[in-house]
Amino acid sequence: MRRVLTPLGITGFALLALILFLAVFAPSIWGDRATTVDVPSALQGSSSEHWLGTDALGRDLFARVLVATRLSLELAAIATVIRVAVGLLLGTAPMFLGRRLGGVVMAAVTILVAFPALLVVLFLATIFGVGATGAVLAIGLAGAPSFARLCHTLFASVEASDYIAAARTAGVSRPRILFRHVLPNVAEPLVVSATIDMGYTLLAFAGLSFLGLGVQVPSYDWGQLMQDNLSRIYTDPLAAIGPGLAVVIAGLAFNFIGEAVARSFGTRDDVRRPVAPPRRVPASLRRQDQPDLLTVEDLRVDFTTSRGVSRPVRGVSFSVKAGEAVGIVGESGSGKSMTALAVAGLVDEAGVVDAGRLSFDGADLLDGGDHRRLLGTSLAMVFQDPMTSFNPAHRIGAQLAEVGRTHQALGRRVAWARAVDRLQAVRVREPERRARQYPFEFSGGMRQRAMLAMGLMGSPRLVIADEPTTALDVTVQKEVLALLGEIREQEGAALLFISHDVSVVREVCDRVLVMYAGRIVEDLPASELDESSHPYTRALVAAVPHMETDTDRPLAVIPGQMIDPSESPAGCAFAARCPRASVRCGVEEPVLEVLPSGARVACWHPGEARSVLMEKAEVRR
């Protein structure tokens, strides 16, 4: 409730209180003034005595507007009651009439909902006749179908829940299920909807009375007062507009409340724009160029949110040589995907990417220049979810050809031909037909191939693949991995392969970077994963079941949870979960040190003399 009481909600409730007050008390306070005929002062304009002027019989228009509140509100309320009652009846029909007959009712409701309410109102008003009664019936019934559909949708969602199924199984009768289990659970949105619709009902009534089809003389509501005085817009504009303002205020009261309630349900986007300017290491501190294809030094990514600064990547340094396959492994939240996105320059605007050095193929990506062509043709990306990574509105071929047209200045036909050729290169069958298809006509594995083909439109020197096989079936996984291998061979491309799956990384990569809480904790050849030095790497490897795993024992897990990216612990981030943790680990952060073998590890107790078996036992606990 507190969240409803925003300035918007408070305004709404205040306006509603005012209207309710007028509806109750206005007729007794201003009733006489509103009906006193004073012919000599007829058709006066606005004055201090008559704020809105007087009507053709000299009655005070302001008083009439105030008094009309009751009738306007009453009629809208009755129409709303009819709407809700008939809507509920129609909406629950499928529950009582059975699937067949209920389906017919809902089909009729669907047809009716498609027609504008005003048209249905006019249709019904013809049948029920001109006047307040006919208008109430017409407006109430015209609104019933949309309310019925809302009921039906809400009921359907509740009906699917387990407790309804349980009640069914227990033999609870249908009416009892409806009243005891279904209605209480959907009451809130129904009441909110009915409240908001009351505002629209008020407006609809004003419209009908304005047309002369609603309230008839000598009764008067706001619409009737508007119609009565519309012709005076040239001489006494306030007389014509005043009743209309009352309609708008009443409509706004209901709309504001509805809006406030709806907003309190919705979630707000908390991410704010970064405030701190990106911190940059002076050029003089950057090291000389090396023949590495990709060099990353001290990469950091910060996000400023309303809850503080979150640092998913905290100082990551590594390099990838031409043609090399490097894997990044870690649990979700370790910062591996964010590292890949930051390298590719694809972290979205809310994040601040900063690095001591970030160079690709000899170009300094941090120099502020335009590297679109280089990145567009030499850096290929493959994302995790192939189902959502293609634009659903464009043909696959066009999405591929676009790369050639943008970066290689290819003509429409040539680019298309190249797209077809590339699809063939990733062994998509019937590439010409497939190129004309839309993403929804492709399977997941096919889309991942097409994504690779998109990278092949240029001549990629580096493929960044972020969990490219996680969303795929095992057999399709194999095919996509094999294809990645082929591309590396043919194009001589390097690979940065992000995965949480140690066994896949071991299979695909030459070298592995192990990430934990935004840092690299170990960097070692893939072939030496079994002899790793860092306890986290060991735990990751131990967590992978293999042929000799004792299936009678529970699978190894790493106890505890990764620290939150918004916290920055004093010591080693893994200390709380580490079997080897000492006092030092809790206070001093280990630095990534180069071992004699060339591998790197960040641990105060690397590969200490404890048997792997003992460690596994400990990890399992």
């Binding site: 005003l118 006019l122 409509g251 709309n255 994302f383 509105a393 069958r429 037909r433």
Partner: protein
């Protein structure tokens, strides 16, 4: 894989054409069924009027012989089914009967009034779409990720207020400001292009308020979609990223929701025409409802209903052009 090999090689063009043909057939079928339901409802409307519609139309003082003669000339003395069939037959041949009050053929009255109503509705439709889409996109880009909170607040506030003011009232306000006070535009009637400005704005403003809000929300959702990251990974120009990759998807979602609203513009003309004394069907409809001239009401309601159905069909075709998925299945 084997399944694919076994499948017959289909020519791409005919396969694609097939989908469009199927879509056209299905959508036309739905339109025809809807028109039939509408026509039946319009037929039943006259019979659902309590009491004798002819007596109601001619008044309590009309002689019984006149009422009887009128009933006979309207065919109301024949069996219901026969009336229904001849009504449907009349629809096909364009014969909608004639007014009880003026004897003028209904189709003639419609022919006179339809152009006025149609131009108003079409202009409002075009204006609503042309303004709300760029407006929604612009506000979405400006207020993305909680930026420019004041702009967002101003936009939300304005659109709620504008969406609440009913079109006829907005019309009155516009007349007062721009016709009476400033005298920029004519107060009423249909004359030159300047006479269209106020009625079209009055009719379209509410739709713009609501549609642009929907458009903003949809655009915000699309900007966060995975395929937008793919588009950025392709290093396209920002303009191309927004216009080619984001816009069609956001417009698709907006039109799906906004289709009803745009159909509502057709009905809205009734009120707006009354404010501006616009020579269309709206004024005739209200007068014939007040005068209980049922054949005329029936004919005009039928025309409005068909217009609404046509708008919805048009929206569906636009959707099919923008989003190929909507051509398959019935959604």
């Amino acid at each position: 894989m084997t399944l694919q090999l076994a499948a017959p090689a289909v020519r791409p063009a005919s396969w694609l054409g097939g989908r469009w043909v199927r879509f056209a057939v299905r959508r036309t079928g739905r339109l025809l069924v809807s028109v039939w339901v509408l026509a039946t409802a319009a037929f039943l409307m006259v019979h659902a009027v309590p009491g004798d519609p002819v007596r109601a139309a001619l008044g309590a003082n009309a002689p019984a012989s006149l009422v009887e003669a009128k009933r006979a000339s309207l065919g109301l003395d024949r069996p219901l089914l026969e009336q229904y069939l001849s009504f449907l037959q009349g629809l096909v041949t364009g014969d909608l009967g004639s007014s009880i009050v003026t004897q003028v053929e209904v189709s003639e009255t419609i022919r006179t009034g339809l152009p006025g109503t149609l131009t108003l509705a079409v202009a409002a439709f075009v204006l609503a779409v042309a303004v709300s889409i760029p407006l929604g996109v612009g506000i979405a880009v400006l207020t993305r990720r909680g930026r420019a909170r004041r702009t967002e607040f101003a936009f939300a506030g304005t659109s709620v207020v504008l969406g609440t003011i009913p079109d006829f009232l907005l019309g009155v306000l516009l007349v007062y400001l721009f016709a009476v006070e400033l005298q920029w535009f004519p107060v009423a009637g249909r004359s030159g292009p300047e006479s269209y400005v106020l009625p079209v704005i009055a009719l379209a403003a509410g739709a713009v308020a609501i549609l642009s809000r929907i458009m903003r929300v949809e655009m915000l959702a699309v900007l966060e979609a995975d395929y937008m990251r793919t588009a950025r990974a392709k290093r396209l120009s920002p303009l191309r990223t927004y216009l080619v990759h984001a816009l069609p998807n956001a417009v698709t979602a907006t039109l799906t929701i906004g289709g009803l609203l745009l159909g509502g513009l057709v009905a809205g003309t009734v009120l707006v025409e009354n404010v501006f004394a616009w020579p269309g069907l709206g004024g005739t409809l209200v007068r014939s409802m007040l005068g209980k001239d049922y054949p005329l009401v029936q004919g005009i309601v039928l025309v409005y209903g068909v217009l609404v159905l046509l708008v919805q069909t048009l929206v569906d075709v636009l959707l099919a052009l923008l989003d190929p998925r909507s051509t398959i299945g019935d959604s």
